[in-house]
Point group: C2
Chain length 398, copies 2
């Protein structure tokens, strides 16, 4: 037999790659693509909110008028008019953000990868919320940190918990203050002020990841920590939830010294975010489109959130609790301590209902009696039916 008929040899992998394991959840959730499954598992925005016709007109205008620039290599930092638009957008409440503080990224996920690359060393402490965004854990883990969980309560991260003992040697603190994935919690104004104050003297950056900030149902956003400490907060934003995720356009706002290093890291990572998609985003938003578009997304999600809260109220047995989000895409459910949501998921999928178990959102010690529900892609009648089935399964375990 010729050796080319052999299967691939066992090549030696990096330590970080050896730690990567297949996700049990992902295997279970693969079945949720069947149309009969009522899926509360998705973190996907509703395609009903994508401004497809505006994007179509933008793409056409760009490829007609400026194809050579839109299809050529471009600056690692990003499309200058888009960077300026973002800087202006965030120059509120007295903060002055410069375009030189803005780096365009290939989705907000890339921002997490670049921050890990530039800040995290093996075994260096990284502070995260309890629980925290799973995608951030995946990104940072490639740089092999030691996670330290910052205590939280129903309002989110507790600033007083950031003692010198807890934060010693940390390379960064990662938080989602607005409608956190997975809990849907919003950090109150007093805690934002305390955390921004903390950032001003901390020897490491506080990262304010904010993909959901525009989705507050009342249209009354709280000030960002960036506006409170513009030279000390690293702010991550995204167009995925307010325009469309398939374009993969996000951004980092940070002090120039850090942007300089992040640009070098990004150049080594993908040279630059696609010139064409950056221009589409700018073309669509430059005349104030988001100001009329985002309220329509808020209304859709607010109604579906209300449908889910009503269904939870109607069906869930005593001993089950959940939060009432003021925005975003998620509800966080606490089950009685003896119920493992991973096992519950298997039973739920057999009943054509899906959700994401809470365990993987914890960096270290996990609370396995928790789960995340998303309501954004499910119509109200199906939400009612899905929650009803889920409640029946839980009731049978109490």
């Amino acid at each position: 037999m010729d050796q080319s008929d052999l299967k691939a040899p066992m090549w030696q992998l990096s330590e970080r790659a050896r730690k990567l394991t297949s996700s049990a959840i992902r295997e279970i959730l693969k079945v949720t693509e069947r149309p009969e499954v009522i899926s509360f598992a998705g973190g996907l925005p509703s395609p009903a909110t994508f401004p497809a016709e505006r994007m179509r007109a933008a793409a056409d205008r760009i490829l007609r008028d400026e194809p050579a620039a839109a299809l050529q290599y471009s600056a690692t930092e990003g499309f200058a008019p888009l960077r300026e638009w973002i800087a202006k957008r965030y120059s509120v409440n007295g903060a002055q953000i410069r375009a030189s503080q803005v780096l365009i990224t290939t989705g907000s996920q890339q921002a997490l990868d670049l921050l890990g690359k530039v800040l995290v060393c093996p075994d260096s402490p990284v502070l995260v919320e309890t629980p925290t965004y799973l995608g951030a854990l995946q990104s940072f883990s490639m740089y092999e940190p030691r996670y330290v969980q910052v205590p939280t309560d129903e309002h989110g991260l507790i600033p007083e918990a950031l003692t010198p003992e807890l934060t010693a040697g940390a390379r960064l603190l990662y938080a989602q203050p607005n409608f956190q994935n997975p809990t849907g919690r919003r950090l109150p104004i007093e805690r934002r002020r305390a955390l921004a104050q903390f950032a001003k003297t901390a020897p490491f950056p506080v990262i304010e990841d904010d993909p959901y900030g525009a989705l507050d149902y009342a249209g009354e956003p709280l000030p960002t920590m960036l506006s409170m400490a513009p030279d000390h907060i690293v702010h991550l934003g995204s167009f995925s939830k307010v325009l469309a995720p398939g374009l993969r356009v996000g951004y980092i706002i940070a002090p120039e010294e850090l942007i300089f290093k992040l640009v070098q890291a990004k150049q080594a990572t993908d040279l630059h975010t696609p010139s064409f998609t950056q221009r589409i985003v700018y073309e669509v938003i430059k005349d104030g489109f988001l100001d009329t578009h985002v309220p329509t997304i808020r209304e859709l999600y607010r109604n579906q959130c209300a449908a889910m809260l009503a269904a939870l109220e109607r069906y869930m047995p005593e001993g089950v609790s959940w939060n009432r989000p003021e925005g975003g895409m998620f509800v966080w459910v606490n089950l009685p301590a003896q119920i493992d949501s991973m096992k519950l998921l298997e039973e739920a999928v057999a009943q054509n209902v899906a959700f994401v178990p809470g365990g993987p959102f914890f960096a270290n010690e996990a609370q396995h009696n928790t789960l995340r529900l998303s309501f954004v892609t499910v119509p109200p009648a199906r939400i009612d039916e899905g929650v009803s089935r889920l409640a029946a399964l839980i009731r049978a375990k109490i």
Copy 2:
């Protein structure tokens, strides 16, 4: 003074980030954007080759007929029809490539980053050509390898040099067999066979990076090493040089076991390459467009390459030598040993001519009397004028 008035604090950076330094070349080359500069420095394809109208029609069709899919999150592996198209394209010369062996990347640069992530540990040996592609050095360096230079001659990498001593402990061998950046060299068929044979028993992957393979001026491509050892070669491809780089669509073809790890690493890096740009590429190429389009690019570059070779012949003094590329975008020039091309660049820029000094393309010991010339974006008359000025500067130093 309020602390928020202070400049950003000095945050502790990762070891890999501290090693990043600003490029002296980049600083010098910033001035080359002035229109009076004749720049042979670019690695950019000519925008005259971008099929803008076809892309415009494709973008329009996609956003009219399938906006929900084109604008939504999508699979990390990439757009399935595009993966199938690539697998079929490479199933030649008896090799059978499966779509499951194909991962779509955000440009070929991301392929290098992902391979570094998955294969390279601090201080582990990485084998590279002498000289090698600068962008690959940038990507791999983020994972802190120890570079080992594989000896080359005017035909490229010398397979016999891959002794057990030289390759001990290596995690990968990186090579560009077609019209290498920076030398323009093409690896002969016998060496390809020898290297493919080497790959079949090596305990590490041989990476065949092939952004320029389609650009052979005679239209007589040599077989890829992938076709000779489809289960043992990792092949990188790109649409940047045959369609347009601004879309950032490249791909990795590798054994499924490695693809599986690369997919996990990519998920942590940017979730997926933009759904929309992948669909544009597929829409443009699916009916055989490249078969008529690529020959027009070849012809343009062949003519400009001929103009550059004629000018070098006409103006360069004794003691200067260069290769005669059979394809691609670059000519590699050897100067007399006493001439440092970095210093020459400063003088050349003062005369409104630019090129890239050869030094940074060497992983370890550099040959500073080398330089890279690109002819693809400069019309023949300007090529003649630019080479004439450059030759005069060199002549003055001999």
